[in-house]
């Protein structure tokens, strides 16, 4: 039973670690502002499909790791991530039955909320920011969502079929 569970947990943990690494890869300056927020997208997917196992707690821990990795204020990513995942988990039943177009629109809203919180915390802490550039990750993230959710869906289907 427990073996079965850990086998099911592996792809989730693996996908989160890969997302964390993608968020750290150095990119050229031109495309860096448009780097999609892989971690946020990954956590939205797992919180939507398996909200009992992965919700605010996971989001908080991953957020703290992001804070350390990016050298931001401790708790900034954690708070933003936590809130976004709370909304996702709260409405996961509605989200699941949405058609893809509507789900993508919701992901757009969630990512906007997430970036807004990051922007807002920076503002409260008195750090200089430009509001316009926060849209880059939201737009690319939304554009990637259909592809990403298909890939994750495939992973989940395989894992369940094998276990």
């Amino acid at each position: 039973m427990s073996k079965d569970r850990s086998a099911r947990r592996l792809p989730v943990v693996f996908s989160i670690v890969v997302a964390l690494m993608l968020s750290m890869v150095p990119l050229p300056d031109v495309i860096d502002p448009y780097r999609p927020d892989w971690v946020a997208l990954t956590l939205i997917y797992w919180a939507m499909t398996l909200p009992r196992s992965y919700s605010v707690g996971t989001a908080w821990v991953v957020g703290i790791v992001l804070d350390i990795a990016h050298g931001t204020l401790l708790g900034q990513y954690a708070l933003a991530m936590c809130f976004m995942i709370y909304v996702t988990a709260k409405f996961h039943l509605q989200l699941r039955v949405f058609p893809l177009s509507q789900m993508t629109a919701t992901v757009f809203a969630l990512l906007s909320l997430y970036q807004f919180l990051l922007f807002w915390i920076n503002g409260v802490a008195g750090l200089h920011t430009e509001a316009v550039s926060y849209w880059g990750p939201v737009l690319t993230g939304t554009a990637l969502w259909p592809l990403l959710s298909t890939i994750f869906g495939g992973i989940r289907y395989r894992v369940r079929a094998s276990s």
């Binding site: 670690v17 964390l20 690494m21 968020s23 750290m24 890869v25 150095p26 300056d29 860096d32 502002p33 780097r35 939507m48 499909t49 398996l50 909200p51 009992r52 196992s53 919700s55 605010v56 707690g57 908080w60 957020g63 703290i64 790791v65 350390i68 990795a69 990016h70 050298g71 931001t72 204020l73 401790l74 708790g75 900034q76 954690a78 708070l79 936590c82 809130f83 709370y86 988990a89 709260k90 996961h92 039943l93 699941r96 039955v97 789900m103 915390i121 920076n122 802490a125 750090l127 200089h128 920011t129 430009e130 550039s133 959710s149 298909t150 869906g153």
Partner: protein
């Protein structure tokens, strides 16, 4: 994909429990934020978690370093010979400069001794590799592969062969985070090399520009002036080149001129930085002495 049948398998999280957990974690985050902004209590926690993040940085960096290793080890004999001769020529040039520098240094110490001023001590330098850069475009933060184990400390200056790069903001055990001089939150005390005019260079958020916002309209500054560290802030040793002034705009009704400068170091292209231990006599270890000269002789 996301089928409705999965509803039966995974029951919905009970509402209040989820909300309560969220509230608790949100409060905890806000508490962390407040503490982290005002005090340094969380440094130990940061370092501890940072040690877990280190392997991730290493893995992320692995493809690039592997690629470098592969290109290096499969370089043809011809290429190697070319590079070798180029390096030899460069070394000759550097050596020539170094001789001039040595003479100047001797003269400087003698003059200082005559004036009974304290002699300037040379600095110890170590080369460190940049492992990753911040994903946040508003924070120009890099992670380098030396930590407190190598003697790195908070506030330590980072330079490259052409000029000042930034300073360490958080020394971890195995790796450290450094802030670049172009970060909007970074300010650096500098002086104009030509006339000793002191001012402060503030990061602009762009890699190729520093702002000098505190210069009066009648200040003696012009395009092409070299700015060097003044050593007055305490963090940076004096005399390292920082930037070259590229635009001076004097607006008559404003109290301050708007002056911008281009950093001497190519902040977004560097792969290695040199960490400086000011005042510690230069140890002649592998790369240290060679790179020090490249950084100091800049004319």
């Amino acid at each position: 994909m996301v089928s409705a049948s999965s509803n039966n398998q995974h029951r919905a999280p009970s509402g209040p429990a989820l909300g309560l957990r969220f509230l608790l974690l949100a409060c905890l985050s806000i508490l962390l934020l407040v503490i982290d902004q005002r005090q340094n209590y969380l440094d130990i926690a940061r370092k501890a978690i940072g040690a877990f993040v280190y392997p991730l940085h290493v893995v992320v960096d692995a493809p690039i370093s592997t690629w470098l290793w592969i290109t290096e080890s499969t370089a043809t004999r011809n290429e190697l010979q070319l590079e070798n001769s180029r390096l030899r020529a460069e070394r000759l040039l550097t050596n020539a400069r170094l001789q001039k520098y040595a003479a100047l240094e001797a003269e400087n110490t003698r003059l200082r001794a005559m004036l009974e001023a304290t002699p300037r001590s040379s600095d110890r330098i170590r080369v460190s590799e940049i492992m990753s850069v911040s994903a946040n475009p508003f924070r120009h933060v890099v992670v380098v592969d030396k930590g407190t184990r190598d003697g790195v400390f908070d506030g330590q200056a980072m330079v490259d062969a052409n000029g000042v790069v930034g300073q360490v903001i958080e020394a971890g055990l195995l790796s450290s985070q450094g802030i670049l001089i172009s970060d909007p939150d970074h300010a650096l005390p500098v002086e104009v090399n030509r006339n000793g005019l002191r001012t402060i260079a503030v990061g602009s958020g762009e890699f190729a520009r520093l702002d000098l916002p505190f210069l009066a309209n009648n200040a003696d500054i012009q395009e092409g002036d070299l700015l060097v560290t003044s050593g007055l802030g305490g963090a940076f040793p004096a005399g390292y080149p920082v930037a070259v002034v590229d635009a001076v705009k004097r607006i008559p009704q404003e109290p301050f001129a708007s002056v911008s400068a281009i950093p001497s170091a190519a902040l977004n292209q560097i792969r290695e930085v040199m960490l400086i231990w000011p005042g510690i006599a230069a140890e002649t270890d592998e790369t240290a002495s060679a790179s020090e000269d490249a950084g100091d002789v800049d004319e």
